[in-house]
């Protein structure tokens, strides 16, 4: 019974994936037909304005991601039925290379917005959203699921209503993971923003005014000074956000941790100021009062509505009914959307297969192999420096304090912004696009490993460290018998996300248009780009994207997931 059920779900997800692929292929190939776009001039005086534009795009995408992750994560964690659909879907969305779907998104949004810049803007916000939302949604889901039973019962025993439970228990419990994933998501978002501001589809070029396009254009025109200035501005924005937002937010988030561990929560000057400052206090009081008034107004409005209505029970039932109505509305919308998807997918499939098969399709197996080789190489390079560094950090609190913020800032500088520089350097000096593309893949892979490994190394219990000291275990022995096994689960988590980032990076790393010339290597990412930007072939897009997604999902199922289960069973530090 259960197996059959599972089987049906698997089929459903396969169909869903296929539909997404077909749509991506269809609209991705049509992106080629868009009217010639527009180019943004690269000028120094525009720099602050462009920085603002880039930031606004990020902010918009983040706000959408936040509301998406809160509602979807909440739904998945509180409804078993929703969970069965949401979690595997998120899992698939998280592991497909989002950049491959970008041309389709551009076409859809541009045609939806009737052409012009607003469509491109929407597409770029959408792209950034897809790089931010999944991990945040998973964070919310996990945080709600791991709330201790007692805390839930404490509220349930008081007969607390849904909203109060959300406000006092579920949302606060999500804060630490939400803050952590917010920081990760912004870093990922910057990476994509750079790719999303410069869009060249066949003959059409779309530039969105922003730091990414400015940098790219400046590099193309050979204005190295302007390019470095723009890069400096970007680093400035990222560092400022780290100091003014992420650091204080992280310290603040410690308040919401469930374990009462006596670890020092760290410090943030900005947060200290925020907590002490009288101006802030006054503003808070004012806001609170305004909020109170608003709630009173709202409350009396609801009460008035309830009084006017003929049924007495409405005032208590009204929230519940609204909730259910919203649920049904959403379900209807989702159903309509799925139906639309199925219909377009079917018609697109018919059209795509009416085309002749491009001869490039024969290259797919070799291209996959070549790309896999590049990924493996980048992975080995990542391991070679992240494992020793994180062990060092785990052993030495002082090193941790110095290295962690540097690494965090390094990770949030979007490597995509450095692409022109890397290309310039690599191709001119080494003359090899192959080395350049491995380097570019590395930038999309290494940080995931580093951060997971650091977290793992720092989580090695003090007791174990003291034990090795008291037994006078040789250092090498300690690494082999204690640290590496303890690191294994986080190594795997890092590897899974790192490979995910790597597959995605392939699409921007194997094929680069620079100064009107396309630099490329044989690889699946390059093939996909050629299918989209040079050939406009829906069938080839479908085949390359399909091959890529298949390999990724197979690797996940057959390799990573099994290894992970093994790691968790064998090496979890729990007594």
């Amino acid at each position: 019974m259960v197996h059959q059920h599972q089987h049906r779900w698997n089929l459903f997800f396969l169909a869903l994936l296929l539909a997404i692929l077909v749509i991506a292929a269809f609209y991705g190939s049509r992106a080629y037909l868009l009217r010639p776009g527009f180019v943004v001039p690269a000028e120094l005086p525009k720099l602050p304005l462009y920085a603002l534009f880039s930031f606004a795009r990020m902010l918009a995408a983040y706000l959408v991601s936040l509301s998406f992750s809160l509602s979807v994560g909440y739904l998945a964690a509180t409804s078993r039925r929703a969970e069965r659909f949401i979690i595997p879907t998120l899992d698939i969305l998280q592991s497909v290379p989002i950049l491959g779907f970008f041309p389709a998104a551009i076409y859809l949004f541009v045609s939806l917005a009737g052409g012009g810049r607003s469509g491109i803007e929407l597409a770029s916000v959408f792209l950034i959203f897809t790089s931010q939302a999944w991990n945040m949604a998973f964070g919310v889901y996990e945080a709600i699921l791991t709330i201790p039973q007692d805390a839930r019962e404490a509220l349930a025993a008081f007969g607390a209503k849904r909203w109060l439970v959300f406000k006092r228990l579920l949302f606060p419990a999500c804060v630490p993971k939400l803050v952590y994933n917010t920081i990760m998501s912004w870093a990922g978002g910057w990476y994509f923003l750079m790719a999303a501001e410069i869009i060249a589809i066949g003959p059409a070029r779309y530039d969105l005014p922003g730091l990414g396009s400015l940098m790219y254009r400046a590099a193309e025109e050979g204005r190295l000074g302007l390019m470095l200035l723009a890069l400096g501005t970007l680093v400035g924005v990222i560092v400022a956000m780290d100091l003014l937002l992420w650091r204080p937010l992280s310290v603040w988030a410690e308040t919401f941790r469930y374990e009462f561990a006596a670890s020092s929560p760290g410090r943030s000057r900005v947060l200290d100021w925020w907590r002490r400052s009288r101006a802030v206090k006054r503003a808070k009081a004012l806001l609170q009062r305004a909020g109170g008034e608003a709630r009173l107004l709202l409350g009396s409005a609801v009460a008035a509505l309830a009084r006017r209505s003929p049924t007495k029970a409405l005032s208590t039932g009204v929230a519940h009914r609204l909730w259910r109505a919203c649920g049904w509305g959403l379900a209807l919308l989702a159903g309509a959307f799925l139906g639309y998807l199925a219909w377009t997918a079917a018609s697109a499939l018919a059209k795509a297969f009416a085309q002749p098969l491009p001869q490039e399709a024969a290259q797919i197996p070799l291209a996959i192999l070549a790309s896999f080789g590049r990924l493996a190489l980048a992975y080995l390079v990542s391991l070679a420096w992240t494992v020793p560094l994180s062990i060092w950090i785990g052993e030495n609190e002082r090193v941790a304090r110095i290295v962690t913020p540097i690494a965090e800032i390094g990770a949030s500088i979007p490597a995509t912004a450095l692409f022109p520089l890397i290309i310039l350097f690599m191709i001119r000096v080494f003359g090899g696009m192959n080395i350049a593309s491995v380097l570019l893949i590395l930038t999309g892979m290494q940080w995931y490993l580093l951060f997971n490994l650091i977290a793992g190394a720092r989580a090695v219990p003090q007791d174990l460290k003291e034990m090795t000291k008291s037994l006078r275990l040789p250092r090498f022995y300690y690494w082999r018998k204690v640290v590496l096994p303890a690191l294994f689960p986080s190594l795997l988590t890092g590897s899974i996300t790192g490979w995910g980032g790597g597959w995605n990076a392939l699409i921007v790393a194997e094929y680069i248009v620079y100064n009107q010339k396309a630099y490329q290597v044989l690889g699946i990412g390059a093939l996909l780009d050629r299918a989209t930007y040079e050939l406009g072939s829906g069938l080839l897009i479908f085949l390359t994207l399909g091959a890529m997604v298949t390999v990724i999902l197979l690797l996940n199922r057959l390799l990573w997931r099994r290894l992970y289960r093994f790691a968790v069973e064998r090496y979890r530090l729990e007594y």
Binding site: E153, A154, A156, A157, F158, G159, A160, R168, P172
Partner: protein
């Protein structure tokens, strides 16, 4: 007068029978202790009284009315304290009042009253992580008392405290029980410590190992404060111990 009656309450979790045919009356002005070996369903029984778990069969009557859903006449105290780490002591104590939509001013007043009662005045703005275990459980007690339940339910409330702290908290509970300003009409405590049961309760209900059945009810007819070294006190302990062993 009977405050709450359990009529042949049974609870199964899938194939596992946790409780079988428990019939029990909670009288006014009565302190009851539920003792039994671990896994006998004591905590489940307490949660059935709180209306958090519905019995598989049998029913719970509140002053003659069948209970359906959460039991608003009770409040729970947890072994793990179950405080919300992101709320101050004051806000934690106000939680139940907030759930019952009591206006903020009244909430603050009542919370302050019970924070005083458990001896935590001056700690209103502290966060749980800044408190010792004993202080955390004082907050847990204040939070439960603040909704002014008729029946106070406590699930191994002192089991995660060190022995000395547990002694002072037992004294606090007895003081509150005797306090005319605290309108609790009955207490039910779940414990695996026999001497704790004899020290606190008017009636000790001994449950068997899984599935939990009532083995015996023992009335503890000792005046309070009870002398733990008295012969009569140890007599009760021996009797209960022989029932459980």
């Amino acid at each position: 007068m009977a405050l709450m009656e359990l009529e042949q309450v049974s609870k199964r979790f899938g194939a596992l029978s946790a409780l079988e045919e428990i019939s029990l009356v909670v009288e006014e002005e009565e302190f009851i202790a539920l003792v039994g070996p671990s896994g006998c369903g004591k905590s489940t029984l307490l949660r059935i009284m709180a209306g958090l778990i519905a019995p598989t069969s049998g029913r719970v009557l509140l002053e003659g009315q069948a209970l359906n859903g959460v039991n608003y006449e009770t409040a729970l105290v947890f072994q793990s304290f179950a405080l919300l780490p992101w709320l101050t002591v004051q806000a934690n104590v106000e939680l139940g009042l907030e759930a019952r939509q009591i206006p903020p001013k009244e909430r603050a007043k009542r919370a302050a009253f019970y924070i005083d009662k458990v001896g935590l005045e001056g700690y209103e703005e502290a966060y749980p992580r800044e408190l010792s275990g004993g202080m955390k459980q004082r907050v847990g007690l204040a939070r439960a008392l603040a909704v002014e339940p008729k029946i106070l339910l406590m699930d191994e409330p002192f089991s995660s405290l060190d022995p000395l702290t547990a002694i002072s908290l037992r004294e606090l509970v007895l003081d509150l029980w005797a306090d005319p300003q605290v309108p609790v009409a009955a207490c039910v405590i779940v414990t695996h410590l026999i001497d704790e049961a004899v020290e606190l309760a008017d009636r000790v209900i001994v449950l068997s190992a899984r599935p939990g059945r009532i083995v015996e009810e023992i009335r503890v007819a000792l005046p309070r404060p009870r002398d733990k070294r008295a012969e009569a006190f140890n007599g009760y302990i021996d009797r209960i111990f022989s029932l459980m062993a």
